[in-house]
């Protein structure tokens, strides 16, 4: 069996509003409702709605032989429900076809896997429940961690929770001479299968598609099928993992990205012996070739494929450590608003905005950031966190008295 496994990440953070020092202690609403709503509405029009329609058509046209997987973050689900219910409906319609798989992740697209097992598992369970509730009792079997962050240790935590497989990056420094186009098993827990992203072919679609200085521009379905035919025969699985916003948002409609996707299944079926599978099908049908050792966490971000987009500079580390100092206190507080804000503040994007790696991947960071500079991002986050700390302190004091 040779198969292509498409997985799309759908995530939107709750962005913070400009929160001033003078607001600390007084204003407890942190979220930029206007901006967040606008982003969701805009991306819904450009990407979510047209691409969902296209996928629905393709699934019907090929009677389920074409299939994809999604991971929908909880912060995305919440915003979709509030700002674009028609998008939620269209996702429900897709899942109802039976040919769309949903993955689990942490509810708030958090970095908790690097800090606290307890918090990590709580956020995963919350995501499970929410998916179940919104998609007619659907229970995901495969896990994907925030930004495809993975290590042996994270693999063990995920296996503990009963998942069959986990997705991550086919990072060069982990694979060495090995190919990402196989199924591997986790180093510590044999039964957990690890699916690796083929970043060359994934990024040809996600990043290079409209790049006119790229030698292979323009990318056509013929070209793409030629490339996958050139993959050595014994390599079985091609994992194409990317942000869903690739379609219509990062690559605009005018680039022809929708037409490319519309015709890709046909070209694959006609000119190659590849089929399409979802991650759980791959995990069930393909046996692992070997163990993969990942002692230090990897991710799918930037050239380094490590954690330096979110953690590592002083601002990021300070913000991250101060936030998680509150974990135990928050757990004891039974207040829905504290719990909600605690979750939303963990979203990885807040730390991404504080990244100072200007020169290598800065342009990508800038594209995604609502702030002018990482310093602004840090100040704003810390002002909010300072207020949140005061609230946690007050609630804790109330509990004790």
């Amino acid at each position: 069996m040779r198969t292509i496994c498409f997985y799309f990440q759908v995530h939107q953070p709750f962005r913070l509003k400009p929160y001033r020092f003078f607001d600390i202690g007084e204003d407890h609403h942190y979220w930029d409702d206007f901006l967040n709503r606008n982003v969701i509405r805009k991306v819904a029009q450009k990407c979510y709605l047209p691409m969902n329609t296209l996928l629905f058509e393709l699934i019907n046209q090929y009677r389920g032989k074409f299939k994809v997987a999604f991971s929908l973050s909880g912060t995305f689900l919440d915003q979709m429900e509030a700002y674009a219910p028609e998008v939620l409906e269209s996702f429900q319609k897709l899942v109802a076809t039976g040919h769309v798989e949903l993955l689990n992740e942490t509810y708030t697209h958090s970095l908790a896997s690097l800090k606290s097992k307890e918090e990590f598992q709580a956020l995963v369970r919350k995501h499970q429940e929410r998916i179940k509730e919104l998609f007619g009792g659907y229970t995901p079997k495969v896990f994907r961690n925030t930004e495809l962050i993975y290590s042996d240790q994270i693999g063990a935590m995920v296996a503990d929770m009963g998942y069959e497989a986990i997705l991550t990056e086919g990072a060069k420094h982990i694979l060495g001479w090995k190919s990402p186009n196989y199924v591997y098993s986790s180093a510590n827990v044999q039964k957990l299968k690890v699916l690796l992203k083929n970043f060359l072919l994934s990024d040809d679609i996600a990043f290079r598609f409209s790049n006119k200085t790229w030698a292979d521009y323009p990318l056509t379905t013929e070209k793409f099928v030629n490339w996958i035919n050139a993959i050595p025969k014994e390599e079985q699985v091609l994992n194409l993992f990317m942000d869903y916003e690739t379609f219509g948002e990062h690559q605009w409609e005018e680039t022809g990205i929708f037409e490319f996707m519309r015709h890709l299944p046909e070209a694959v079926f006609k000119h190659s012996n590849f089929s399409f599978s979802t991650p759980s099908e791959v995990a069930a049908e393909v046996s692992p070739v070997s163990k993969i050792h990942v002692p230090v966490p990897i991710s799918w971000a930037d050239e380094e494929r490590d954690l330096t987009a979110w953690l590592g500079n002083d601002m990021q580390d300070e913000a991250f450590d101060r936030l998680y100092e509150l974990e135990k206190l928050v757990r004891n507080i039974d207040d829905p608003e504290i719990k909600r804000d605690w979750g939303y503040l963990q979203t990885s994007d807040h730390f991404y905005y504080m990244c100072t790696k200007f020169f290598s991947d800065g342009s990508v960071h800038e594209y995604f950031s609502p702030y002018d500079t990482p310093y602004d991002a840090f100040i704003n986050f810390m002002n909010v966190l300072s207020d949140f700390m005061l609230r946690v302190k007050q609630k804790t004091a109330a509990l004790q008295s």
Binding site: F22, D314, A319, N383, M389
Partner: protein
Amino acid sequence: MRVLMFGWEFPPHISGGLGTACYGLVKGMNHHNQQVIFVVPKLWGDEEPMADFVNASDVRIDYREKRFKKFWKNLTYLEVSSFLVPYLGPEEFKKFTDYAIHDRTDVDESIFSNKFEFSGKYGKNLLEEVSRYALVAAQIARDKDNFDIIHAHDWLAFPAGIAAKEISGKPLVVHVHATEFDRSGETVNQPVYDIERAGMHAADHVVAVSQLTKNIIVRKYGIPASKITVLHNAVLDASIIKSEYEKKVPEKIVTFLGRITFQKGPEYFVEAAKKVIDRDPNVRFVMAGSGDLLNRMIDRVAELRMATRFHFTGFLKGDDVDHMYAISDVYVMPSVSEPFGIAPLEAVRHNTPVIISKQSGVAEVLRNAIKVDFWDVDAMADAIFALLHYDGISRMFKELGSEELKKLKWEHVAAKLVTVYEKTLAERS
């Protein structure tokens, strides 16, 4: 006494402390019934009619006057090489370069016209405006004969003062509110330094805003101490400000408020904050303002892992400045070099105890404040801790500080200035 005074800005259109000081001084002179002809590059029309104002932009230059030749020469000479921009912060610099690139098309023609529209700001073509201002001053000095003495404020008006003196033969007093060494440290802007030095040497007498500034003038500009008089600045309004604004956080607040630049010593405030927070975590530090060292300070605060206790507000304007003073429990001004420094007096008006560096002129007049060397972060931390925890001392500073403020009146300054004029005129004759 009739004084022909050259300034650069006048309230309400000011961007720095110079305009405020000129306002106070003129007000003080009025109190003693002295006549002041006050020249500014640009008048806006809404200035308080407290002097005989002359708008330099309205003065028509008689370019046939042979005695003006020298000033013309300066002008054409400077026109070529004035990419130097003293006084400009990063935001302003952007504004002015935008202005220079997009809006300014009049350069070539304006040299030969006999009237010049000054911007009166601190723009890219500042040096050009400064020397053109001198030309206007020469014209005014030729046309007017109803003054006894010339008084020029800071280097921007020094060439004007020199020109007026040369044309009229009347004595010149230059007033130093800040030197290039305060603005730039040891790496001075040479053309600006040269103008300052020329002004001080051409003057019959020099007025400095503090002993600190006087020492710099003696040491760096080669002026004999006997030619310099120290006249400290005063405050326009010494009344206590009662703010309705209330603090929203339970902790005490220690504030730095000013430009975040080398001159203001922000890094010493950050280091002192760390020492205090290590001892007492129930304090919040606030750095209010903007400047080229802001990002470096943010990095340092994150590195010291105290960002939930140390906050940045960005540039504050209007009511926010008052609110900031109002909620502060301690105000710190750790300036590396501050000719005077009016901000601590504002803090005193808000009943906030202050810590100031010994390297500030205001330390010479404010007795009821803690004074530390700007580099001595241990002493600064001790002082902050003491003012936060020992109510006795902070209460004392609050009471005595406001008493002291009431004595800092511009009419006293003006009275002393009149004696300086009289002495200068007497030495002449």
